[in-house]
Structure formats: C-alpha cells, structure tokens
C-alpha cells in the first residue's frame, strides 16, 4: 500500500496507530496462556514488524523536520510576496491618481485653448475695455459712492429728475400748454425734492416740480390736470412693483447697448 500520496502528518499518525496495534498484540501474546500463544515464528515476525515501524517512524519524523525548515522558508517568502503586493497596490493607486490629475489638466487646458482661440477671433483692445468699465462704474451703478448714507437721494439707476434732465425730458414735448422749465443743476433738483419730501407727509406728489408728470409713491406715473384739479394716474405698467422692473429693464438695456457698441 503506497502512502506517498498522503500528507506527512497522516503518515506519522498511521505509523503510530500501527505501532500501537502491534505492541498490543505482543503484550496480549505475552500474557496469554500457553495454549493460546502464537508460534515463535509469528512472534518473531511481529517483533520485526514493530522494529520496522519504529524505524519508519524515526525516518518520517526526520522528514517532518526537513519539511518544517522548508515551511519556515516559505513563510519568509510569503512575507516578501505580501510586501510586494502592498507596493504594487500603492503604485497602482499612485498611477490612478496621476492619470486622474492628468485627465483633469488636459481637459482644462483644452477649454483654455478654446477660449483663447475664441478671444483671438475678436480681439478687443484693453483701452476700450477700460474705457467702458470706467463709464459703467462712473455712474455708481456697480458700487455705491463712499460717502453714500441712508437717506441719500442718489440711486444706482437714473432717477426721474435725471431723466428729465436727459434728452427725452428736455425735448419740446409740451402737453397741456405747460412750458418746460430747465433747472440749473441736478443738485438744485435734489435740494428741491428733498425739501418737499421732508415737508410732505407720506410722500405726496412733489408740487414744487414744475413738470406735469410726477411719480406717485405707489409707483404710478401721475399727470397733473391743473391747479387744484388733482392728478390722474397713467397706467404705464400693470405690475405691482413697476418701478423696480423699469430699473431692471433700464439697466439691462444700458448694458446691452454698451456691449453691442463694443462689437
């Protein structure tokens, strides 16, 4: 019976079992009565078998010692393999990181190249850009003036006073026979408006303004019908907060006109 396909452990345990069986046989034969004892040949064979098994046990134990040495080497090799595995994993992680960073950089670089090409198609001189930036910021539309306080009448959008000072306001549109009076400066207009505003409670129609058109606090444009006749509201817009919408439209228009000019 070939036992070489078995592991060394199984072989050793099998030999121990065999030794136990043979030793028991021998002892039983020794204590057995004469009539039941085996022949001397059998006895001798049993003894030989026991000795053989003992030799086999010692040889297999020697083999086990060699295998234990090999196993120690294998443990050391496994430790080295484990370290290599760790190093490979780390390298892999670093490569993936590098790939991600490179991919992001290439994408951003492509975007920048596209925007550079786009900008080169329509070059704009920096002087022109600065000029327009100056113009936009000069009217305090971007940032309030440093000296601005609560109650200051200045606004980031053109007020009605400024509109009247403009081209449309100064045109010879003469409704109801009223002649237009031209105020000397914007500051005079602001002073007049502020005194009226302070005197009138609840922000009534400014009577000191010589024009027939005036803004009601509710946001509607009122037209004066004559001395003491009251005023009629003009339905300029149906929205509740019409003044704000006007402002937004105004500001959008101004920006779009300036941007179109730049092209």
């Amino acid at each position: 019976m070939s036992s070489y396909h078995l592991s060394t452990r199984e072989r050793l345990l099998a030999i121990i079992n065999d030794i136990e069986i043979v030793a028991k046989e021998l002892i039983e034969n020794t204590i057995a009565p004469k009539a039941q004892k085996m022949s001397s040949t059998d006895h001798a064979q049993l003894v030989e078998l026991l000795v053989l098994k003992d030799k086999e046990l010692k040889a297999t134990l020697q083999l086990a010692a060699e295998q234990a040495g090999i196993e120690k080497n294998m443990d050391a090799l496994r430790e080295q393999v484990r370290k290599q595995d760790e190093e490979i994993n780390q390298l892999q992680r670093q490569l993936k990181e590098a790939e991600q960073i490179l991919a992001t950089s290439i994408f951003q670089a492509r975007q920048k190249l596209a925007s550079i090409a786009k900008a080169n198609k329509r070059p704009v001189s920096s002087e022109e850009l600065i000029k327009f930036a100056h113009r936009i910021s000069a009217s305090h539309a971007i940032c309030a003036p440093l000296t601005w306080q609560q109650g200051d009448l200045r606004r980031p959008y053109p007020t009605d006073i400024e509109m009247r000072l403009g081209f449309l306001g100064k045109s010879d549109l003469n409704i109801n026979g009223h002649n237009l009076q031209h105020p000397n400066s914007l500051n005079e207009m602001h002073r007049n408006a502020s005194t009226v505003g302070a005197g009138g409670a609840g922000g009534d129609i400014p009577a000191s303004a010589p024009n027939q058109f005036a803004w009601h606090p509710s946001g509607e444009l009122h037209m004066s019908m004559g001395a003491g006749a009251g005023s009629v509201s003009l339905d300029t817009r149906a929205h509740k907060d019409a003044s704000q919408d006007d402002v937004e439209v105004m500001s959008t228009e101004s920006s779009s006109s300036s941007s179109s000019d730049s092209q």
């Binding site: 121990i16 030793a23 026991l50 086990a64 234990a68 090999i70 196993e71 294998m74 393999v81």
Partner: protein, 110 residues
C-alpha cells in the same frame, strides 16, 4: 529590456536546521513485556509486579497519545514533501514575477 529580463534577486533566506522530534515507544513496550515475563513466584511480588505492569501499560498509552498530539502540533507537514516543494517553487515564481512587475513600473519612461 535586458535589465528587466535578468532574474530578480530574492533575498537569501538562511537554511534553518530543525531537530526532529524524539518519540520513543519501543523501550516502554520492552519494559512491559519484561515485567510480564518475570512472573515471580511470591504472591506479594506478583501483585506488585502486576501493579507495575498495569502502570506501564497506562504509561504506554500516554506515550502514544502524547506522540499523536505532538505530531498534530508540528508545522509544515500538511502536505507531502513533493507537494510542498511544488508550492515552494510556485511561491518563488510568484515573488519573481511581482518584483519584475514593480521594476517595470518604476523604470517606465513617460
């Protein structure tokens, strides 16, 4: 490429000689058989011898059990020697391949 093809160095593991385990069963069996064969005439001596005999048989049993438990605790005997040597060889190859791979990654010119 030649640098990559050369066999990678596996650090030399010192050969450690392990002493084999000593299991002596024959002397115990011999003692038992001798004490049985003595067969003294005197009754008291006979009883004494008989007690010693049974004690020696118990000792034999203990020796066998101890041998079995020692064998079960030994390392490296899960496989036959041939199988173990095959596994050792495959471990060496695995280590060599991994070292080559690492060297290749580190030497790559981008």
């Amino acid at each position: 490429m030649d640098a990559l093809e050369t066999k990678p160095q596996i650090c030399n593991i010192p050969e450690t000689k392990i002493q084999p385990v000593e299991i002596e069963i024959l002397p115990v069996v011999y003692d038992i058989i001798r004490s049985v064969e003595k067969d003294p005439i005197d009754n008291t001596a006979k009883q004494k011898e008989s007690a010693e005999c049974s004690h020696k048989v118990t000792e034999l049993q203990k020796t066998l059990d101890a041998a079995r438990s020692t064998i079960r605790k030994l390392h490296g005997i899960e496989y036959s020697k041939e199988e173990q040597l095959r596994r050792l060889e495959s471990l060496r190859k695995q280590l060599a391949l991994k070292q080559q791979l690492i060297k290749k990654y580190k030497n790559v010119q981008f």
